[in-house]
Symmetry: C2
């Protein structure tokens, strides 16, 4: 069975879910063009998820993907958070931010039974997870809805684990990929390998379809991934300049500047390693900071800095997520980009 047959779509092209920079508009555009649009739910409230799914269902009957994080929420650690605030103190002072007034609490909830209930109302064709899979019980519930389940593997070990737990396909996420590494069996970033190295090894190891992600920016990249044995691809960064994405102005500007050539895996924005364009906070505190609290607790203290800086058209504290190959970023409709990606198929 091809990936297209498994997911019920025309093309084996998945638009990568990108929390914070896109919503239903990008999903609809990609799915209507024959790919698989993805709705990232990690940073949305249950109400917002319901609203976005209602929008999607009202305008398209094509298959789409709904994406969730499934990390284990950390215990709060007042000492560590205080240490993180201390590291950020000079920036708070620079921007006139009162550190005592920063709202706390995790902004990113993992998949849970309340979210499963919402999915049951909308029955999406595809559900994907990042950072592993939810509990066996929740996973069974998602499968009972008829959804095909995908999750990201960054190593052969993770791919084997996902297959054993019942994933219908595995996304082999090479280290070129922008945003959060999906890693969940190890937190050692030296275990992370490129798409060219990872895909053939995962294809050899598992029997489910393998979706290549990371560094794929155009039809040539899609063809290369298929040559390596992938059944499909997941493309993120190339969609960031599309009008349907909600990418901020500073983020759009960075992607179109020469600085986009230099990305790094950093934990300074959320506590977990994620790839973004190197900017001031990464240069001064990272890319990996031992002081950053556990995911997602690092995020709340950086948020007000980001907001204040962006008001000055300044991306110094913005998570400028991007993969290592921004060469596919163009200001074209997502439908056109999706079509162009299929040129060599």
């Amino acid at each position: 069975m091809t990936l297209q047959q498994l997911l019920g779509t025309e093309f084996p092209i998945i638009q990568a879910p990108m929390a914070g920079v896109q919503g239903s508009a990008l999903v609809v555009a990609v799915s209507d063009a024959g790919g698989v649009g993805s709705l990232p739910c990690a940073m949305l409230s249950p109400d917002a998820i319901r609203s976005e799914l209602t929008t999607i269902k009202s305008v398209t009957d094509r298959p789409f993907n709904v994406n969730f994080f499934c990390h284990v929420p950390p215990s709060r650690d007042a000492e560590r958070e205080a240490a993180w605030h201390a590291v950020l103190a000079p920036y708070f002072e620079e921007y006139g931010i009162d550190p005592g007034a920063i709202p706390t609490g995790p902004a990113r909830a993992p998949f849970n039974s309340e979210l499963a209930e919402i999915l049951e109302e909308f029955r999406p064709a595809v559900v994907s997870f990042h950072f592993g899979l939810p509990s066996a019980e929740l996973l069974a519930r998602v499968k009972r809805m008829g959804a095909k389940v995908l999750s990201s593997a960054t190593t052969v070990e993770e791919a084997l684990w996902l297959e054993a737990q019942g994933a219908d396909a595995v996304i082999a996420q090479g280290l070129e990929a922008g945003g959060h590494r999906g890693m969940f069996l190890s937190d050692d970033i030296s275990t992370q390998v490129s798409t060219l190295a990872l895909v053939p090894q995962v294809v050899r190891a598992v029997n489910v379809p393998v979706i290549a992600a990371g560094g794929i920016a155009d039809a040539k990249g899609v063809a290369a991934a298929m040559d390596l044995g992938a059944s499909g691809v997941q493309v993120g960064t190339a969609y960031l300049l599309c009008p349907e994405a909600t990418t901020s102005a500073v983020h759009r500007a960075a992607l179109q500047s020469p600085s986009a050539r230099h990305t790094a895996l950093t934990n300074v924005f959320t506590g977990r390693p994620a790839r973004g364009i190197v900017n001031r906070i990464i240069r001064e505190l990272g890319p990996i900071s031992a002081a950053a609290p556990e995911f997602p607790l690092a995020a709340s203290a950086v948020a007000p800095l980001r907001a204040k800086a962006e008001c000055r058209d300044n991306g110094d504290f913005t998570s400028l997520w991007s993969g290592q190959n921004p060469s596919g970023c163009r200001e074209i409709p997502a439908a056109q980009l999706t079509q162009e990606l299929t040129a060599g198929l």
Copy 2:
């Protein structure tokens, strides 16, 4: 003009020069099979180079490549070397090594006029460099011999620089590649990107042929690289188990073990970042150690540890160079591997 026409070979497949693990036997086997065999000269004395070139010329008239490093030799820094010895002291004690008796002096000489003179005797079809290019004068001398000149670029900036200096083709070295990073315009390893990300960007930036290196292990990888716009490929790791390679027993065993899945960029063996299988010294001192002296001065102090450990069939201190995709490593003749790599061309 195709890369084959430029280099005068049947296939656009270059066997990567791998100092310390191969000599003329691998060169001859690959060149006779229609690829481009490469003789790494960085760790050979002038006499040894002359001897190897004599051997090659006596058994084949096919084109082959001779490879040199062209780093700027560092000044000795007694304080830094003493600090490095202090870091290694527990290992010296463990292995009963007298640190005062370790022979010093750089084991890797850059390309110079004496080596150019040797090349003039043998007139190889191809000469490749790592870490940039030699002086304009030496480069002109190599070109006057009729040799085509290649060098490695790890960023778009390096590719543009090499083209401007007169390189006939550029090797785009993705970060998957085993052994030393060819980086020479920056020493920031976060600038290093994968083959999938680098090749399309370099192809777009330069007018000379681009050779893809890093993560390419089989015919599928070759096809993927060509899809990305490469004119040819350079393959290293996959040749390490061939009988014609001089890969040590501990290195061969590591490449065939699950530990080969975990490589890292490390400077603990030579002072420059290079990719190898993670072993004890990398785990305990690295992967990047601020204490390691400048390239190649870090090497001499590690050499006796390696020698003693290898006598016990132990690779704890061996530079187990490997790319991120060891899946092409098989104990087959180099001619057969070369043929198999061409299957999709």
